[in-house]
């Protein structure tokens, strides 16, 4: 027996993997819920209810999805060009750092200019953080998987140093925490009285922009060409290294927006626990979305829904929240498996 690729998959075959993965994930989660001694239908129902069961729950899920959309986009853009950016976590913190540096009252400009300036500065900060590994790759051939991954730890320690030192809030009662943003530097809420902030709007807008760039612009064309066949791209005259650097700048900037949106939209200050691994989860989001920028939005909502839903399910059904992590992991693995099974057919010799 051997596998033979299906040459021209139909639309149904292309859409099948996420559906199969979703279904199988629910089955496996149900089994685990039974092991934990709970009724699987109750557990799945509680997760759904906890994620989308009320306006409050839904908006909470959207809030949680916001940074994941940004990091998911960052990863999908980079992976599309086969630039393996594992460092969205560091770029996220770079954006967050820039936000508190500029957002705590140092800018002398009128209030309407403050947010745009911070956004641009945050994007630049994330871009610069990823520029270093990108240049090391294009100049010296250093593997970006290693550099971007290790940079996460370096940058987190750097933030920790700042929060224990110069950035430490004098009013913070000794906690390693920055000063709070001034009100003009905060992202307003979309609807008064509800927690959903404009970071979500910015995320959706970014996803649409990236989709347009990838399908319509010469840069998107170059990025796809470099990702699919570097040798042919170079032969055709596409400046491969320039494209990789541009991709890195775009990817780093997107990941930095996650940090900006979390600080300016939700937390109001910078702490070391700003991101529970949004940068890494972004990789899962991007893979679940098959690197499609609009798919990233859907995948981020799915992942955020599982996390938010599992939190509330855990309180009601006494099943550990780790179920959420397991569901994500199985969803990703099953997605990869389902892609293989739908793109290949088994041939019996």
């Amino acid at each position: 027996m051997r596998l033979e690729p299906i040459k021209n998959p139909t639309l149904a075959r292309k859409l099948a993997p996420p559906m199969i993965a979703l279904f199988a994930t629910i089955v496996i989660a149900s089994l685990l819920a039974m092991v934990a001694g709970a009724n699987p239908f109750t557990v799945i129902g509680l997760i759904l209810k906890g994620a989308f069961g009320s306006t409050f729950a839904t908006l909470e899920t959207l809030n949680r999805a916001t940074p994941l959309i940004f990091t998911g986009l960052a990863v999908s853009v980079a992976f599309r060009a086969k630039f393996w950016n594992i460092g969205a976590e560091a770029q996220l913190y770079a954006g967050a750092l820039m936000t508190v540096l500029l957002g705590t009252g140092v800018l002398p400009w009128p209030s309407f200019a403050i947010l745009p300036v911070i956004i641009i500065a945050a994007i630049l900060a994330g871009a610069v953080v990823l520029l270093v590994p990108a240049l090391m790759k294009t100049r010296f051939g250093v593997d970006e998987v290693v550099t971007t991954l290790l940079f996460n730890f370096i940058f987190l320690l750097f933030i920790s140093m700042l929060l224990e030192g110069v950035l430490k809030d004098p009013m913070g009662m000794g906690w390693p925490k920055s000063a709070r943003l001034i009100p003009e530097a905060r992202l307003p809420r979309i609807v008064d009285g509800l927690r959903l902030h404009w970071g979500f709007g910015l995320a959706i807008f970014s996803a649409i922009c990236i989709w347009i760039i990838q399908t319509r612009s010469t840069l998107g064309y170059e990025m796809r060409a470099v990702g699919l066949n570097k040798e042919a791209a170079a032969f055709a005259g596409i400046p491969v290294n320039v494209v990789i650097v541009k991709t890195a700048l775009l990817s780093g900037g997107l990941a930095a927006l996650a940090g900006f949106s979390e600080v300016a939209g939700l937390k109001g200050s910078l702490t070391l626990d700003l991101s529970p691994g949004f940068g890494y989860t972004g990789i899962i989001v991007a893979m679940l979305a098959l690197l499609n920028p609009l798919g990233v939005v859907v995948a981020a909502l799915f992942v955020a829904g599982i996390f938010v839903g599992a939190d509330s399910m855990s309180r009601a059904a006494d099943v550990p929240t780790y179920l959420a992590d397991i569901m994500l992991a199985t969803a990703l693995l099953l997605m990869v498996l389902a892609i293989m099974l739908t793109r290949f057919r088994v041939v019996r010799e």
Binding site: K7, N8, R216, S217, T218, L219, Y221, R224, A225, L228, N229, E231, A232, A233, A234, F235, A236, G237, E349
Partner: protein, 513 residues
């Protein structure tokens, strides 16, 4: 052959289908002990499929394989090897970092034995290489050997395993005419020792020279089987192609000014491809310049320099009358150079891109297809559709991924892509490799048409016949050096062969000083 001939191997009524395509249609082939049978056919005629059936890599839909009267179980890739059938592939299967002896003995000796028996193995290899005139040192590292020597290692590898049937797949593609003669001498010795040989080729004069019998495949079917003494080259060509071969029409064209020249170009040594050594070349309007040579003698570097991929370390590229300062693929395209790359799968196209995206690959950033960084898909699609129409690219539509196309149709898209811009200079690097006869004629006619309208063509090919048929002037490339210019008909293949083997060149010391 003789009446008491012993059958060594026979393939009986082999049929193999791939979906719609019948790659082998009731093909039969047998070889007796002490006989050379040539398997002749164009690219895509089904030769490789037949060999894959023999070696159990494919299971035939019907038909049987017999080796020395034993029927081989289908689909077992060890069966043929164990029965004493060995194959020397066109692309060698040697480990560069191991020595000749290690390559030859690899996989023969049990890993469980404590002693490797190196001395005995070495003695045996030396004896074999003496007996069959396969001069190669057992201790040499394969990475340092020439292509001809590597082929000898491959043959030794088969002989070391006591093969009784030896299959050679296009063995002369990488050899000079003189090396080919040496190979044939070795093969004749092998026959005397009682081996049987299947010789796969599409070169008629070689088949006539070495084979006792010829089996001709055409489009997967048996087009005939004859003794070589009862036939001649023209009859074989007719059998192979279905019609008498017509030589391309090379009526004289008007010779114009030089459009592109290389002046004493030496390429940097990156370690990956052989370099050019102080090469000068002129491409004139209305002329096809052929570059003949054994594969891996600097053709890749030459194509890269002309195509803008590689910058000379010393010397200049001259466009018209101007020395080029900055030289990139994009500048080469903008300067009107049409580039047909050697490997259409790896460098010519992007497999997962559709025909539209591949059609604009070289010129997506020009104002024909984009404006201010945004692509104009409408114009791009119209361009791709025009190529599909005009160059007869067979495909379900312009939104088909190009990997679904056959090699010939892929090449037609590349031709259309570069010729639609009315290029003045054409770089054709192995333009017909792997194409069927129809596509070959089409590509050649397009090159000749371009020559007629005043384009300068550089034709790089490892097929000496192709170079001699099309070129107005020929240069031979050998070890990175370029021979003087030879006019059409000035040299015989044998004379060119001497140049290909490196004779006639001035010694390197002149450049070293």
């Amino acid at each position: 052959m003789t009446k008491d001939a012993v059958e060594a191997l026979s393939l009986n009524n082999i049929t193999k289908r791939f979906g719609e395509l019948t790659a082998n249609d009731a093909v039969s082939l047998s070889v007796n002990v002490g006989e050379v049978v040539a398997l002749l056919g164009e690219n895509g005629a089904g030769k490789t499929t037949l060999m894959n059936v023999l070696f159990g890599l494919y299971t035939a839909d019907s038909g049987t394989v017999r080796v020395f009267s034993e029927t081989l179980p289908p689909g077992n890739s060890r069966a043929a090897l164990d029965a004493g059938v060995g194959m020397v592939h066109q692309h060698f299967t040697l480990a560069d970092n191991l020595t000749v002896q290690e390559n030859i003995t690899l996989g023969v000796h049990s890993l469980m034995k404590l002693s490797l028996g190196r001395a005995a193995a070495k003695a045996r290899i030396t004896a074999l290489s003496k007996k069959f005139h396969l001069a190669v040192s057992p201790d040499a590292r394969v990475g340092t050997l020439s292509v001809g020597e590597r082929q000898r290692v491959e043959i030794l590898k088969a002989l070391y395993r006591d093969v009784r049937v030896l299959i050679l797949d296009e063995p002369t593609a990488v050899l000079t005419p003189q090396e080919t003669d040496d190979l044939f001498a070795t093969l004749r010795l092998a026959i005397k020792e009682g081996l049987s040989i299947i010789f796969i080729s599409h070169k008629l004069h070689e088949v006539m020279a070495i084979a006792d019998r010829v089996v001709v495949l055409r489009h997967g079917k048996m087009a005939g089987g004859v003794d070589t003494k009862d036939t001649d080259k023209n009859a074989l060509a007719a059998m192979m192609m279905g019609t008498e071969a017509t030589p391309p029409d090379v009526s004289p064209a008007k010779l114009g000014a030089p459009l592109l020249a290389l002046r004493n170009v030496t390429t940097p040594d990156s370690g990956s491809i052989p370099i050019l050594k102080s090469v000068s070349l002129e491409l004139k309007a209305g002329q096809i310049v052929g570059l003949a040579g054994v594969s891996g003698n600097g053709q890749a570097a030459m194509a890269d320099v002309v195509g803008g991929v590689l910058n000379p370390r010393d010397g200049h590229v001259v466009l018209g009358t101007e020395i080029v300062q900055k030289w990139t693929p994009r500048i080469a395209v903008q300067s009107g150079i049409a580039r047909i790359p050697e490997d259409r799968h790896k460098t010519g196209t992007i497999a997962d891109f559709d025909l539209v995206e591949n059609a604009i690959l070289e010129r997506y950033s020009s104002k024909d297809f984009s404006k201010g960084g945004w692509l104009n898909w409408h114009k791009s699609r119209a361009f791709a559709d025009r190529i599909i129409d005009k160059y007869d690219v067979r495909c379900p539509g312009s939104d088909t991924p190009i990997r679904l196309l056959s090699g010939g149709n892929m090449q037609k898209l590349i031709l259309g892509r570069v010729l639609e811009a009315n290029p003045q200079i054409i770089l054709a690097n192995q333009p017909v490799r792997g194409l069927d006869i129809g596509a070959v004629n089409y590509v050649h006619s397009q090159l000749l048409a371009a020559r007629k309208r005043g384009a300068a063509v550089l034709l790089i090919s490892e097929d000496l016949d192709e170079v001699m048929a099309l070129s107005d002037v020929i240069h031979v490339i050998s070890n990175g050096r370029l021979s003087p210019e030879f006019k059409r008909g000035e040299m015989t293949p044998a004379q060119l062969g001497l140049w290909m083997a490196g004779q006639g060149f001035q010694t390197d010391t002149a450049h070293a000083s």
